[in-house]
């Protein structure tokens, strides 16, 4: 029997970039999994957690917990949200041992999409083809650079991979960061955009939807033709 995976598409993919979620589902199905989507899901609670709003973060975190408590695998298309769920979720319940234990258990079953493919599904070839010049942008909290997504891109046929110059650096998105430092956020995004442009790639691939949207907006505003894509969209392409 095929193993079952639950998608946690995140609020951002749901509302802003649904094609990344669909691509993720397709890749997982092709890798032999039964894919389900639980309608009660909304957000992981990261915005409130990072903003320091404990009670709101805890409420939304509990909602996630209740929604997925019996899931075998929860696969997430965003590095930022996956980090929140697999690392920080238990910290939301310092005074509630039973919720804390449940969160700890569930957090070990939450997987960022690319890690799931490599470490659980152990995919070899995905039958993907993508005849373009592609670069990978280390999205949210991927310091140091992550090998996983690059390994996956190397499995894609006809893909011309080019590495960005310099060490990975933040794109400037950072949730509510823009509220506090709009100018710095812009400067950071511009800097990363120049790195991307310098690579002459036609597509920039990432694993966090927040970062991808931030870069997409800057690229569009600058009238650059470079496309932003979620890794799943490249892997789903045949």
């Amino acid at each position: 029997m095929a193993k079952r995976v639950s998608l946690f598409v995140t609020c951002m993919v749901d509302q802003l970039l649904p094609k990344a979620g669909l691509a993720m589902a397709e890749v997982l199905e092709r890798a032999g999994f039964d894919v389900e989507f639980r309608e009660a899901q909304t957000c992981c609670g990261l915005p409130a957690y990072q903003a320091g709003c404990s009670s709101q973060a805890r409420a939304v975190g509990s909602h996630f917990l209740n929604t997925f408590v019996d899931a075998d695998y929860v696969v997430v298309p965003s590095t930022g949200c996956a980090g929140m769920l697999s690392r920080d979720l238990p910290h939301l319940f310092p005074d509630d041992p039973s919720a804390r234990t449940a969160a700890q258990t569930l957090s070990t079953r939450v997987w960022e999409f690319s890690r799931f493919l490599l470490e659980v599904a152990k995919v070899d070839s995905l039958g993907a083809r993508f005849p373009h010049r592609v670069t990978y942008f280390d999205t949210c909290c991927s310091v140091p650079a992550q090998a996983g997504p690059r390994t996956l891109l190397q499995k894609v046929k006809d893909l011309d991979y080019v590495e960005l110059d310099g060490p990975p650096e933040c794109c400037g998105f950072g949730g509510l960061f823009r509220w506090h430092a709009p100018q710095e956020a812009d400067a950071m995004t511009q800097k990363q955009m120049s790195r991307i442009l310098a690579s002459k790639a036609s597509h920039v691939v990432g694993l966090d939807v927040g970062c991808l949207l931030q870069l997409r907006e800057a690229l569009e505003r600058g009238k650059h033709a470079v496309q932003t894509l979620h890794l799943a969209e490249v892997l789903a392409n045949q």
């Binding site: 598409v9 609020c11 993919v13 749901d14 509302q15 802003l16 970039l17 649904p18 094609k19 979620g21 669909l22 589902a25 989507f37 309608e39 009660a40 899901q41 909304t42 957000c43 609670g45 915005p47 409130a48 957690y49 990072q50 903003a51 320091g52 709003c53 404990s54 709101q56 973060a57 409420a59 939304v60 909602h63 949210c140 909290c141 310091v143 140091p144 650096e169 933040c170 400037g172 998105f173 950072g174 949730g175 509510l176 960061f177 509220w179 506090h180 430092a181 710095e184 956020a185 950071m188 800097k191 949207l213 907006e217 569009e220 505003r221």
Partner: protein, 357 residues
């Protein structure tokens, strides 16, 4: 295959592990190391003073000066402290919590390097320095500088007063092999290991040595599990150097915890939490987590419309139907002029249902 191993090729990650472990061990047994330090400094002819606050340290120095009839002080950072209490206070505060050579070089008064007069040094009765490390088993302080101002201020005047936060203690002289390498990955410098006053067979050095161990709010940080790690900081500046935002202001928000009034500033919110600082830190302080912990501190919590917005956001996120409805509304009425995070034509859940699942 032959492998060559030299000092310079020692694996940095091993060094970082070692450094973090040593610092953690000291902090967990700080009472023991404070006593040990006092014992060894005294055995080397020096004198240890424990100061609860910066003001206590200032008062002590002024008293010492009065007793010894000293009129001029020099500091390693500000050239002439005269008998100006506020200047002395600033100096102590800066030394106690300074960000190491990385910032000291920038923060130094512009006249300092140009007109640092030997006469002034020699005229001073008290030379005040900081300490990068306090070495418990040697009863010594270690200065690691990118110039030799501290060394001069320690050696020329009759009395050398070193001011160090209590967290700067390391257990053994040989631990310097770990820490100095982590510091010196970033700057070349002058390293001095100073213990006690001048001995009879020595040509220079002070006649009196006093080590002021400054608490300055550190024991309160130590008691706070969420922030404790911050005391591992060796002030190397690596986190600032790697920060993609506005380094000094941003990580400075954290280090301000070490200076009065021991509260971080609202700047803790001005970070994307990208993790570069934590990754760079040679003693493995989880800086992003501490930033988040500080944001959860009531005094720094978001206020005003932002707090209300997040309350509203949580209300919606707990109600999937309301959440979906508002998504539909946003699509229907999204002003064409608003680009940015424009919603997709259909949400994921609409598309998923459309596929007949």
């Amino acid at each position: 295959m032959t492998t060559t191993s030299t000092l310079s090729t020692v694996d940095t990650s091993t060094l970082r592990e070692r450094a973090a472990a040593i610092k953690k061990q000291v902090l967990a047994n700080l009472d023991h190391y404070l006593v040990e330090t006092e014992k060894q400094v005294t055995a080397h002819g020096g004198h240890v003073v424990f100061a609860q606050t910066v003001d206590d340290a200032v008062d002590y120095i002024l008293l010492l000066a009065k007793e010894r009839g000293v009129e001029h002080f020099v500091g390693a950072r500000a050239t002439n402290l005269a008998n100006d209490k506020q200047a002395l206070r600033n100096e102590i505060e800066a030394l106690g919590s300074d960000l190491g050579s990385y910032l000291a070089g920038r923060a130094r008064q512009p006249d300092a390097s140009a007109s640092y007069q030997l006469e002034r040094l020699l005229a001073a009765g008290i030379g005040i320095t900081g300490a990068n490390f306090v070495v418990a088993d040697a009863g010594a302080i270690c200065l690691a500088e990118d110039d030799d101002f501290g060394r001069r201020a320690s050696a020329a005047p009759k009395i050398h007063v070193a001011v160090a936060g209590i967290e700067k203690i390391i257990p053994r002289t040989r631990d310097l092999a770990v820490f100095l390498r982590l510091l010196s990955a970033r700057f070349p410098g002058h390293v001095s290991l100073l213990s006690g006053p001048r001995r009879t067979d020595e040509l220079d050095g002070p006649e009196e040595f006093v080590l002021i161990l400054l608490d300055g709010g550190r024991s309160a940080i130590l008691a706070d599990a969420a922030k404790r790690e911050l005391l591992q900081c060796i002030r190397c500046g690596a986190c600032l150097a790697r920060c993609p935002v506005t380094p000094v202001g941003q990580m400075g928000a954290l280090t301000r915890l070490l200076t009065p009034p021991h509260t971080a500033s609202p700047l803790v919110h001005a970070s994307t939490l990208c993790g570069a600082c934590g990754e760079a830190c040679p003693v493995k302080i989880d800086l992003p987590r501490i930033l988040v912990a500080l944001r959860h501190d009531d005094r720094l919590a978001l206020g005003g419309w932002r707090a209300w917005l997040l309350r509203g956001w949580a209300f919606v996120m707990l109600r999937p139907r309301l959440y979906e409805f508002l998504g539909l509304m946003a699509r229907a009425f999204w002003p064409a002029a608003w680009k940015g995070a424009k919603p997709a034509a259909k949400s994921f859940r609409q598309l998923w249902r459309g596929k007949g699942r």
